[in-house]
């Protein structure tokens, strides 16, 4: 197997197919660590990981924090609402001050696309993108790929439907890249206002009819309807969205019986999918969360293994 050459994880498209396979393989070993009685290994002892989150997050932040702690790294959280950014300091200045305290890795989430790239360019510590605007959420896509691979034994040749608000979804953008790279066939489905124009150029199919994507999919990925990004009128009403694109037991009747239902969380119960399905046998939503810790451990481990960052 070839070596790992990345010191940052900014976008999934920075990774090759071999890199993604390496992450999945490594995460498999880390999943076992989280099942132990003592869930800690000394691999990153003495390293410091800073989490800089300027958007609300439960899952991703806790997942990264647990991943770093289970590798014996020290972690600290910068809560942006209680930081010197409120006094007018720029994000870059704040990050440089954190760097001056000799930290080793910065995990960043920001509402503006491209912030992780700027930090990676300006700072010496490694940078992990934990979600930037509508652009990219690489670790979410990696944990989704890991979950599919673990459940179905392969990704190559699978039919994956991504349903909902693709326009605002960084999860969808990263997953589209990753799924296609690994050989899956991707179909997007949603209201035409929430499907980015010319997205077919990336090698995906688009349909505006839910039954067309449900019928032959091996995996159905529901996206959260981002109500906080709905100020402009993308939808006539939530109810109309639910009728057309909300997944219910009834609409799932024509699907393959063992279809995987995934959701990056947090779920709007009764909107993207019914509560019955979210808790049902086809749902792997909580498994995605479990796998998220293993995948983020793998990413931290691999990034730290690359000693010097390319300048």
């Amino acid at each position: 197997m070839i070596g790992w050459k990345h010191g940052d994880l900014l976008e999934l498209s920075d990774l090759s197919k071999e890199d993604i396979e390496r992450v999945i393989e490594t995460a498999k070993a880390f999943k076992e660590v989280s099942m132990r009685d003592i869930k800690k290994v000394p691999a990153l002892r003495g390293k410091t990981v800073v989490m800089l989150f300027s958007e609300p997050s439960t899952r991703t932040r806790i997942s990264f924090e647990l991943a770093a702690k289970r590798l014996s790294a020290d972690t600290l959280n910068v809560t942006v609402s209680a930081s010197s950014l409120q006094k007018g300091e720029t994000l870059l200045d704040m990050a440089k001050n954190i760097e001056a305290m000799n930290v080793d890795m910065i995990i960043v989430r920001h509402k503006s696309a491209g912030v992780p790239q700027i930090l990676a360019r300006e700072l010496k510590p490694g940078v992990i993108n934990a979600g930037d605007g509508c652009r990219s959420h690489p670790t979410q896509a990696l944990l989704d790929l890991f979950t599919i691979q673990e459940r179905l034994g392969r990704i190559d040749g699978l039919k994956v439907g991504i349903i909902g608000d693709v326009l605002h979804s960084r999860v969808a953008r990263s997953n589209i890249y990753g799924l296609i790279k690994m050989g899956a066939k991707v179909t997007l489905c949603g209201p035409s206002t929430l499907i980015p124009p010319e997205i077919e150029r990336q090698g995906v199919d688009v349909t505006y009819k839910l039954n067309e994507v449900v019928a032959d999919a091996d995996v159905l990925m529901c996206l959260r309807l981002q109500k906080e990004r709905q100020e402009e009128k993308y939808l006539p009403s939530i109810r109309e969205y639910v009728n057309a694109f909300g997944l219910t037991k009834e609409k799932l009747k024509q699907a393959k019986p063992d279809v995987l239902i995934m959701h990056p969380g947090p779920v709007n119960r009764g909107i993207e999918l019914s509560a019955e399905l979210a808790d049902g046998v086809n749902s792997v939503i909580l498994e995605q969360v479990t796998n998220g810790v293993a995948v983020r451990m793998a990413i931290l481990y691999l990034l730290f293994g690359k000693k010097e960052k390319a300048s």
């Binding site: 132990r36 691999a43 481990y301």
Partner: protein, 182 residues
């Protein structure tokens, strides 16, 4: 002097493992509460063979685990290439067990140090004993083996290669060669 010499073959490896199995049983007065844990990758293969040897003698299969010590290494961030991480599979509780840790070559002792740390994260064994096929000397830590297949005096810049059939070779071999030699 040639650059490479064969120290063991199929038959001598087999006899050495059989003797180790007898020694383990003799010292522990049977198989009560014994389990084997092999260090990936060579040690895991040898542990599996020892399990079969013990079964041939006593008719009982003792529990077998596989340990990956990568995460416990002391050179993780200084090593040139990052080792590929594999799963650790210890499907039983180590607490109260007599753990026979198995590796192919005992050299500096650093691998064993890492393995001891890893094992202790899995429980509190009654004791841990060390079985190795080859002891080549040059210890850097106060560690010794309880069971040794063969002592081979080496120079610090020799490489000791344990070639096992399970890794797609025609037959078992132990070869000592000068570092860098073919």
């Amino acid at each position: 002097m040639t650059n490479s010499s064969k120290m063991m073959d199929q038959e001598t490896v087999r006899r050495a493992l059989m003797r180790l199995a007898h020694e383990i049983l003799e010292k522990n007065k049977g198989i009560e509460e014994i389990c084997l844990v092999g260090i990936r990758t060579g040690g895991a293969v040898l542990a599996k063979r020892l399990q079969q040897c013990i079964k041939d003698i006593e008719g009982v299969e003792v529990p077998l685990g596989i340990l990956d010590i990568t995460l416990y290494r002391d050179d993780l961030t200084t090593a040139h290439t990052q080792p590929i991480l594999r799963e650790t599979l210890i499907p039983f509780d180590l607490t109260g067990q007599k753990v026979i840790l198995v590796d192919d070559v005992l050299f500096t002792g650093r691998t064993i140090r890492a393995a001891l740390d890893a094992l202790i994260d899995f429980g509190r064994p009654a004791n841990i004993q060390l079985a190795v096929l080859i002891d080549r000397g040059h210890r850097e830590l106060p560690i010794r083996a309880d069971y040794v297949g063969k002592n081979i005096p080496t120079s610090i810049d020799d490489d000791v290669c344990v070639i096992l059939k399970e890794a797609n070779h025609n037959e078992d071999e132990v070869i000592v060669k000068k570092r860098g030699a073919q």
